[in-house]
Amino acid sequence: MSVSRFWRKIPQRYNLVGTQCTTCGRHFFPPRSLCPDCRRSGKIVDHQFTGEGTIVTYTVIRSASDQFEHTTPYVLAVVELDEGPRLTTQVACSPEEAKIGMRVKSVFRRIAADGESGTIHYGTKFVPAE
């Protein structure tokens, strides 16, 4: 991913900052600048998520793209944040440990690198909450 494309979303990726529509109250992560329910009448503000949630579904990636190949195997999951929205994330735990319904919390981690000497991308991963 290009440096500017990554840099643009650093607050969201590093700190789990999403958005909220204050017209209907719905939370968004990944952030949206247009509420799908209220559309143009929705007023959107930033929202800091607590980072606590539950695994909805998951898999163990054994074969990845070049950028992630050195990380395999890794647990990838859809996590539902306690505020409502769902996101796709890695869970830093063993393949055997991951379970549907497991409680998790967000942490700041290295996500991927563009080649051996390229840019290192950091962002949010999740770990078991217990």
Binding site: M1, R5, K9, R13, P30, V56, T57, Y58, T59, V60, I61, R62, S63, A64, S65, D66, Q67, F68, E69, T71, Y74, L76, A77, V78, R86, L87, T88, T89, Q90, P95, I100, I111, A112, H121, G123
Partner: protein, 386 residues
């Protein structure tokens, strides 16, 4: 709106076609379709081409113009348009051709699909296919395309009675059909053990749950129904053409295990045709992974949620079953050149309805095609009738 008919179809052999270029593929498919239709180049009014990612697979954009040129239609200045909706690009190109003819704007229209995938390495193609999902919020986290469908499979198996063996039966059945299809990439029969002993790609999906990387092209010719007899004695009618969208990301779906866009496109298609699932004699569904065929059978209404595994294990979706699914071998065995797949589905249905599917022929007068982009953000459904 005018009624529309398919008057000719053509398809290249699918596979790892090292000696064949992107241009060779679509020229071959186009020539076969025109020959089948009995149409000469100067009669063609327009061209629609489904292609997902020539820009990244062969570093070529402006595909519409390139194809018009190498098909010998550039000097006639025939309009040519590329259509993209990831793996649903082919189905969408066919739909654009149908709309062009139905509207009265054009009379003789070619819909084609082409993808040349083997000029890049596996890691690069895994990355490219992941761009059918959300690059910023799924791909960035390390989601692969098999990984997203694996999460559908895990959610599904957590909620519904589907065994690992039943899932494998989807691939076994599609290889059985592929073994009877001369254009299929894989013409070998496999067993449940072949699937269960293959390497894990993304749990619970194994290598034999996944469709392969494929080169291939397909083309069809559509005209107004009232002109079809000028060209052929066996026109195939387009009874419905439907399309639906959903969220780009799997995590934003209402239900992880239901492709709501399949449900919507299926219902719209049945309403247009004035038919129900009981009227469909065969269906080509988008089995990019075994779990995708299970979901498709249910989402299109052929059985209730949670029943497709048992239906498959009982043989109901086999060639001699109640509702033959993927007589071509599907994406799994016939191969999946992403932009060409939706057109190949039309090719297979027309072959079946005309009684020309030697070796895998089923008794069919009405067929359905179901083509999915990404994990279900675009779905295109067509119903054709003899």
């Amino acid at each position: 709106m005018r009624d529309v008919a398919v008057i000719g179809v053509g398809c290249t052999e699918f596979g790892e076609r090292w000696g064949t270029s992107f241009r060779d593929l679509f020229v071959k498919a186009g020539a076969l379709a025109l020959e089948d239709a009995g149409v000469t180049g100067e009669k063609i009014d327009a061209l629609y081409v489904g292609n997902m990612s020539a820009g990244r697979f062969v570093e070529q954009e402006h595909i519409g113009a390139l194809i018009a040129d190498y098909a010998g239609l550039a000097t006639n200045h025939v309009p040519s348009t590329r259509v993209e909706a990831a793996c649903a690009s082919g189905g969408l190109a066919f739909r654009q051709a149908v709309i062009a003819v139905a509207s009265g704007m054009e009379d003789v229209v070619v819909a084609a699909g082409v993808e040349k995938m083997t000029d890049v390495g596996t890691g690069a193609s895994v990355d490219m296919l992941a761009s059918a999902a959300d690059r910023e919020w799924e791909g960035f986290a390390g989601a692969t395309f098999p990984g997203l469908y694996a999460m559908i499979a895990n959610d599904y198996m957590h909620r519904y009675p589907l065994t690992r063996e039943q899932l494998a039966q989807v691939a076994v059945k599609n290889h059985e059909n592929g073994a009877r299809n001369p254009i299929a990439q894989f013409q070998n029969r496999i067993t449940v053990d072949t699937v269960l002993n293959s390497s894990l790609v993304a749990d619970p999906l194994r290598l034999f749950d996944c469709s392969p990387i494929t080169d291939g092209a397909a083309a069809v010719v559509v005209v107004p129904l009232d002109r079809a007899r000028e060209f052929t004695d066996s026109p195939v009618r387009v009874l419905a053409s439907a399309q639906a969208s959903d969220t780009i990301s799997l995590h934003d779906r209402r239900d992880i295990s239901t492709l709501d866009a399949s449900v919507a496109a299926g219902r719209r298609a049945f309403a247009q045709a004035g038919l129900t699932h009981k009227d469909i004699d065969m269906v080509e569904v988008h089995d990019c992974f075994t779990i995708a065929e299970i979901c498709a059978i249910e989402d299109l209404g052929f059985c209730k949620k949670g029943e497709a595994g048992r239906l498959t294990a009982d043989g109901a979706t086999a060639l001699n079953g109640d509702i033959p699914v993927n007589t071509s071998g599907g994406l799994k065995a016939c191969g999946h050149p992403v932009g060409a797949t939706g057109i190949k589905q039309i090719y297979e249905i027309v072959s079946q309805l005309r009684g020309e599917a030697t070796g895998r022929q089923v008794d069919a007068e009405i067929g359905m095609a179901h083509n999915v982009g990404g994990t279900g953000a675009t779905v295109v459904v067509h119903i054709l009738g003899a």
